[in-house]
Amino acid sequence: MTSLLSGHGLHKSFGPIPALRGVDLEVAAGEVLAVMGPSGSGKSTLLHCLAGILAPDAGEVTFDGRRIDKLLDGRRSRLRRTQFGFVFQFGQLVPELTLRENIALPLLLGGRGRRGSVAAAGEWIERLQLTDSADRLPGEVSGGQAQRVALARALIAGPRVVFADEPTGALDSVAADEVMELLVTTARAEGASVVVVTHEPRVAAFADRQLTVRDGRAVLPAVAP
């Protein structure tokens, strides 16, 4: 497997409390990987280290053949903006902007003009079946619709990797299935890899492969998946 993103020997502590104690993992281009584990196992910390949100205390994170854990803040945030997309448990949409404007936001922040950004957002609105609510505010739509907006926003700038942290945590099971189906199919269509953190087996089952983190360590499957 040629890996697009990898972590080797990752350690991270918060004060005296170790969250990661030597995790290795690899994500291939176009692969959907689920990171599972009970709450407090370190799975979100792992995602944050891989995505350049947190710097590990020890170990290496490599993306597209380059070390990214030692990058300075400015270059790391540029990398996050141009190469990575993010979906969190609660969409973290801007409440004052319409769904259309929320989706266009990464392009606007990246310097694409307003007209081009909004036009690109329009395509994603159709693709994710949000046409009827495109001009509503996030507070006026369901949790499932809000997560679809978060998904479109994560994918609009053409990221190589989408990081999703408990993306269905606030949804009922029907909406959760819809969001996961869209996440997996749209990311595949765009050629992006996905790292999804979840404690729910039903969500993890959408992935190509699952990795379990327990007490800050990766539990390797003892049998072939």
Partner: protein, 180 residues
Amino acid sequence: MGIVRRMTVSYALLGLLNEADRHGYDLKQSYDRRFGATRPLRFGQVYRTLAQLERDGLIAVAGVEPGAGPERKRYSITTDGVTDLERWLSEPEDPQPQLQTVLFTKVVVALLSGRSADVFLEEQRQRHLAVMRDLTRQRREASLRDGMLIDYQLFHIEADLRWIEHAAGRLDTLAEEIKL
């Protein structure tokens, strides 16, 4: 008695004989205490199962002792019996209804004999996750009706997985309790 339960009872008795040689009466008492809280074994089942295990060469009569009534046979596990027990313990089960009896019995037999229940539970977890992945893939191509049947399976497998996670967190306490 269904085939799953019959098989499971056989392996539970093998597990008990792996711990120590026992008479039929002793086996029934030990089984009921460790495995049979809600479904104790009947004597007829115990002797039928022992006869079958003996015919298959998995156990042997280690001695015959006179008792107050009829003579009592003391059974011990054979080398083939240990091999068969270990094969059963190390092979993850395919998800199926009524699996809880088998999974629970495997955990108790592993702990009784000082084998690793952690490894067994983790491998079982991987088997369940792999089946969920396949079912999720199948559901993508399925009609809504078939998809809903697949959902039913997925929710049941997920319930098994929750039990596996929960059991994995309580192995130390369980190990102490069942040795009493």
